[in-house]
Symmetry: C2
Subunit: 395 residues, 2 copies
């Protein structure tokens, strides 16, 4: 056994990002993920840039290690094939608008009659069990309604969407946790169950101190920029050629830091002597620090601070990250060899299990690449049967 | 069986946020999490505000459903007790600086000799297997080095730290996924293993399209504010009393939207007729939309747009979220009854499993609250033995 989810088969109706993130995580861990796509067009994200030789690198990055089966679920024969696959699978995943699967006659309550052990996981904007069931769930809607936009950004600026789709990615990750937990429950009890992940719930659940700050004190958390709410200096600073973060977490680091920036006189200055004073008088302190940081090149400045034990980091952009020796050592950027696009580099899974290495990935599938293999291999169909299904555009 | 992780025992040396997030997720799913804390002081986050009757609500929010055992791992007797507990546990978790456990003689290679089935999970800034092993891993360091700060914020503004500690929270969630996968591997093979999660890796792995945009096109992703990179209007807008997001995803919604904002003439305007044109001419288009949104109250505006099928949401702050009927229906804000602090409301787990409801939580533990119960119940110690350990401040 080289991967922990070997032997687990997932029928994945996920599209775009939220559920595909979940099934990417499952596939990275060794599950057989059969991505079911509309014949002809497939997942919408196949049309998202950037493209390499006409193939979406966006799609590639979240669909590696999966198989693609085309199947028209609106045709009766498509539904029958899906049900036959459900009998031979462990998990069904989808992120359609709620009731889509029920209307097709393929909701959890239909599928559990066929396979009582099936685990059925869905992600949508506001939950299947919801007063807002039909509200659409784009990432920006979840980031806005779940509360993270209101607390991201600068005090004098507008709310800010997080620069990657964390509403989708957290929902997908929570779906993965739920599916793994449900597999354990199933292995012990023999029973499947339904999983209902809401994107707004997911965002709300990661607001950290913002929730109790309101429920306990009544204070409405808002934007404080990049600084720490109660430690100073612990913030973003401008360099000559970019930006760095510096985290002076205690008085001993404060002493070291003042020496590095040639401001020894600040160490015992009654305005800045303790963390409480530094936090209170931070508006006056910050320009004193910035006048130094602006004269420094970011890479050298971070090396200097780090050598002296003051936590610091460059605000890395992708061009720096690809050259980072630690990222190379940890194999965090990994190449797939795609039959049409050639070699494409994507972010690897961050999960490092000592007995189940993550050192290679299979390319994302061409639309319908595994249709025949799945129909033959899992459902034992003949070439003749498959040809008929193709003629009728069922697959 | 009412919870999927019933019967799993976790010895949790996690502190502050990253690993406590993981063990909160495990405890929410029914694992017995024994939080091991320094006698006398305990987890640093017990001193993070806000406080209720002197107790940290921050600590409460991420340590519900756990037990607290005080144990001094620097004393020989403390180490022995820890090793005895390892024999009777499934998982050990920690987020110390790398080598801390090895120096105590309690690293994975020590513990697996005692219990070859043990799963040992750690989180640190840059990985245990790393060229930067000893670099400290605060959330802001991970957000900066992992690349999310560089792509969060407005084009004319600085990089922006995400308003909650997603470097910690993603790392913790990936540790949960890894542990659940390793439990499955152990159940099948009988073997435990080591898990090594890096906070920088975790952030890099959630950058979404930013990675392939660079690796495929060479373009360095930067900040684009709250707008969508290729759909318009799909952005944040100012209301009379706050902020809303509006997501006009296609031409049919564009027609509806123009009617709502009384700008029918824009529908077929050659500057804005198609999504490509709207994206291209968005700088001119945005003020036309804002001139309408600024005249509207956010709640009414979102209700109007939603009724007409145009996806929209308020940029919710916590005061709005606590009143949200859907959040109430989904029980996403949940009360614990804390022995000292009384009733405190925290964010619930977003995981909804139909057979394992999340409808109650146990309060976070007082420091050492379960010391006697664990020593008696798990290690079958006598009252006399426990009294001696207390005298020597081992527990």
């Amino acid at each position: 056994m080289t991967k922990p989810l070997e032997g687990i088969r997932v029928l994945d109706l996920g599209h775009v990002l939220a559920m595909p993130t979940c099934t990417m995580q499952l596939a990275d861990l060794g599950a057989e993920v059969i991505k079911i796509e509309r014949p002809g067009s497939g997942d919408d994200s196949r049309y998202f840039g950037p493209f390499v030789h006409g193939e979406s690198a966006y799609f590639m990055s979240i669909n590696r290690n999966k198989k693609s089966l085309t199947l028209d679920l609106k045709q009766e024969e498509g539904k029958e094939i899906f049900k036959e696959l459900v009998k031979k699978s462990d998990v069904v995943t989808e992120n359609f608008r709620p009731n889509t699967m029920e209307k097709l006659g393929l909701g959890y309550h239909d599928l559990k009659k066929i396979n009582p052990k099936i685990i059925y996981a869905s992600i949508c904007g506001f939950g299947h069990y919801s007063v807002d069931q039909q509200r659409p769930g784009y990432d920006i809607i979840a980031q806005a309604s779940g509360g993270i936009m209101a607390i991201t950004g600068y005090p004098d600026g507008p709310p800010t969407r997080v620069g990657s789709s964390i509403g989708d990615i957290f929902s997908g990750s929570f779906a993965t946790i739920a599916i793994l937990a449900a597999l354990r429950y199933r292995d012990i009890t023999g029973e499947g169950q339904e999983i209902d992940i809401s994107m707004m719930d997911s965002v709300l659940s990661v607001l950290e101190n913002a929730v109790v700050r309101y429920t306990v004190t009544g204070e409405i958390p808002t934007r404080i920029g990049s600084r720490h709410p109660s430690i100073a200096p612990f913030d973003l600073f401008e360099a000559k050629d970019g930006w760095v973060v510096i985290a002076v977490g205690n008085d001993s680091l404060w002493g070291k830091f003042c020496k590095i920036i040639h401001q020894e006189k600040l160490i015992n200055d009654p305005l800045y002597q303790t963390n409480d004073l530094r936090s209170k008088n931070y508006d006056q302190l910050k320009p004193l620090i910035t006048s130094w940081t602006k004269q420094q090149f970011s890479e050298k400045m971070v090396a200097l601070l780090t050598k002296e034990g003051v936590p610091a980091a460059e605000v890395s952009t992708m061009d720096k990250i690809v050259r980072d020796p630690n990222i190379k050592m940890r194999n965090m950027l990994i190449q797939m060899d795609h039959p049409k696009a050639g070699k494409v580099t994507v972010a690897n899974s961050p999960i490092r299990l000592s007995k189940c290495p993550n050192d290679t990935i299979d390319a994302s599938p061409i639309l319908g690449e595994h249709t025949e293999k799945v129909l033959e291999g899992v459902l034992e169909m003949s070439q003749e049967e498959i040809r008929k299904l193709k003629d009728k555009k069922v697959v």
